[in-house]
Symmetry: C2
Subunit: 338 residues, 2 copies
Amino acid sequence: MKAVGFKKHLSLEDKNSLFDFETPIPKATGRDLLVKIDAIAVNPIDISVRMNGSEEYGTPKILGWDACGTVVSTGEQAVLFKKGDFVFYAGAFDRPGSNAEYQLVDERLVGHAPEGMDIADVAAMPLTSLTAWEALFEKIRVNIDDVSDNEKKTILIINGAGGVGSVATQLAHLAGLHVIATASRTETIAWTKAHGADQTINHRQKMAPQLYELGYENVDYILGLNDIDGHFKEMAEMIKPNGRIVSITGNKKPLDLGLLKPKSAEFMWEWMYTKSYYQLPEMITQHESLEKIAVLLEQKKIKSTANKIIDGINAENLKAAHALIETNSSIGKIVLCR
Amino acid sequence: MKAVGFKKHLSLEDKNSLFDFETPIPKATGRDLLVKIDAIAVNPIDISVRMNGSEEYGTPKILGWDACGTVVSTGEQAVLFKKGDFVFYAGAFDRPGSNAEYQLVDERLVGHAPEGMDIADVAAMPLTSLTAWEALFEKIRVNIDDVSDNEKKTILIINGAGGVGSVATQLAHLAGLHVIATASRTETIAWTKAHGADQTINHRQKMAPQLYELGYENVDYILGLNDIDGHFKEMAEMIKPNGRIVSITGNKKPLDLGLLKPKSAEFMWEWMYTKSYYQLPEMITQHESLEKIAVLLEQKKIKSTANKIIDGINAENLKAAHALIETNSSIGKIVLCR
């Protein structure tokens, strides 16, 4: 089969940073599904893994987490899917990725794809939806089944127009929360308001005074989606006592956690690959969450965040997608279709 | 009325570090109760507030949080208690304390004292019980109403024989958790086992290998009750993926929070004064929790952690109590009775 990979961690200017190659089609065993890929989306994690590291790989490493496609065979223990099912998933962190014609994925990480949607719109969703879902409904513990309790609660989503932000704003809005998202440019402000934000503030200026201008002394929840080093102090200032902060972006400098102590505030990391990386029993919740997300997409309660579509899954197109994300100003998701 | 107070933050050698003085009996208004104090307990917070600060007070500052006593009058909005009720409470951080003959306390922070117990045993309990209760049942979210889910879960309580540890081990045991507590001396090991710990390890040696010896690769929950600076790295190593860490002791150095990221682990501070300090609506939960704690004490499902009783609430005795806690090796609680 065709695949795109790399052997050394290189910058995009290097022609070997990502290259096309041929490799055998893998065989599904255990709870794996073999999926023929229709479309993939590119996430910041793709860029991060491609760029960082000093290893050299004997056989090329295949990147790619988001994907949709068709099940062509199933392992002997697979029970959730059958041949011919159209599926979507973000896979596992430590297995060969979706930048290929075929891919193996554990069925507990897979959902039936929503029906009646373009494949690009489907492929854009799994990683960001699962991240936003787990952050909001498992870490922050917003009640999605009974939203009456959420009406008086406010969430601040830092970087509302990014991949996770564009889904998190929608899910938070759907759950009845008052959603304040940060955005700094005309087009990101418009995008995030079109994706569920009630109000926006600019994270390139001091945020607390802007929040106060909107009539909020503090917020119940904060979802941090970029530059936690730069924003942590303000997050501690803006969070309500006993409030909850969840972050998906790691810190490079020490965070002054003591700032949260008088408020007994909670700090949670969300990494959607924790469950599969540690092979936790709760891996199955990713199947369950994707099934629910598919229904929300079908019912148009949330919409796809695909914003740029490129035809052809190959090294050249992937490099173009990586380059766009490296600018750090892309809006929504970039998708490559077969 | 008689009271004990200080005007400057001094070490115990200074005779003015704590002194007896006379001050008018205050008057209950709003939701306050005026309580005639029968017994008080001394906590590390008493020592910390007495020692740290550069302020000088015109009128003496009265310390003391834990107390039990009798309601002698109520404010016009008080609805939960009446004159003559025997009550226990840990009060608010920022109001005059219990080291006095009478004290005002907001009724939302007060419980009916358990019946049939010595006043010393009652006075020992509020602050540590509320802290342990909130840490376990509100922050870590152990289900106390349906304990069937807790049987397979393990909690590590660092410093099991201290004030909060001696209640937390009991409550965690009552909730059905497997309780591993840390203790380093023969007498603290015996004490913590008598207060609900199933097993102990020594926090003065590397903890992870000892945990492994007991058959545990990691634990679901960690309750950190001392030296988070010294223990944080090991806490991150020992916590289960998606596990929960709660700490009551503040950090003096930056904590490497990124260690928790791959595991998507949660970190929560517990400060039992957050609710009253910020006057949160959930202040009332401290009344509710104390009512439940009183029942557990009456039913002997948990026992008082009073371990040393001194007769007479005065400066001399308080200094002796402070001195004992300053050794950092006291077990259970020190109580002063009128």
